[in-house]
Symmetry: C2
Subunit: 106 residues, 2 copies
C-alpha cells in the first residue's frame, strides 16, 4: 500500500461499509437500473436510495446516465469486481465458518 493512501481508503471504505449501499451495488451488478427500480427491488424508499447512491457516485463507484427523467446507474466493475473477489476469497479461506467476523448481526 502506498503511503498516504489512508485518507482516500478511509472515504472509499466508508462508502462501501453500509448494507443499503452494498445491496444497491449487488442489485446494480445484475443490471444497471434507475432509482425507482432500485427502490422497488430493495423495498426501500426512493429518497433513501438517492441519499445512498450519492456517495457512491461521488466516489465513482457507480456512474450515472440520464435518460430523460430517468437516471440509470451502473456499477464501476473495474474497481469493484476485484475487491469483491478478494473478499470472497478471504471469506472462504480465512473465515470459512463466518466466525467472529459475522457474529452478531448487521
Amino acid at each position: 500500500m502506498k503511503k498516504g493512501l489512508t485518507k482516500i481508503c478511509s472515504r472509499f471504505f466508508t462508502n462501501l461499509a453500509n448494507p443499503t449501499r452494498l445491496a444497491a451495488l449487488e442489485q446494480l451488478l445484475e443490471k444497471p437500473m434507475s432509482v425507482n427500480e432500485l427502490a422497488t427491488a430493495l423495498g426501500q424508499e426512493q429518497s433513501m436510495i438517492s441519499h445512498n447512491l450519492k456517495p457512491l457516485l461521488d466516489c465513482n463507484l457507480i456512474t450515472i446516465q440520464k435518460q430523460g427523467k430517468k437516471h440509470i446507474y451502473t456499477v464501476n466493475q473495474e474497481t469493484l469486481q476485484p475487491i469483491f473477489a478478494a473478499i470472497e476469497n478471504h471469506a472462504q479461506k480465512f473465515c470459512p465458518t463466518g466466525g467472529k467476523c459475522l457474529n452478531g448481526e448487521n
Copy 2:
C-alpha cells in the same frame, strides 16, 4: 459478486472504514509489531490501538503471535494487498484529482 455476500462485505468494509485502523494496517505492512510499538508509531493511546486491532483480528485481517508479554500483529497481505491495489488503481484512473471523493476532510 456472489449473492448474499452483502452481509460479510458490510462487516468487512466497516472494519476497514476507519482512519486509525487504516493507519495501523499501513504501519503493520511495513513490519509486524506489538501494540505499544504501534501506539508509539501512530502517536495514539495503547487502549485505542487495542480497541481498534480487535475487529481487524476478529475478521482475520491481521494475525496475532504472542511472544511472552508482547503480542505481535501481522497484516493479512493475501487479502489486503489486492484490495489496496484496486483502490490505488481506482484513485489514479477514476479520481485523478481527488474530486468529491476527497472533498471535505476525514
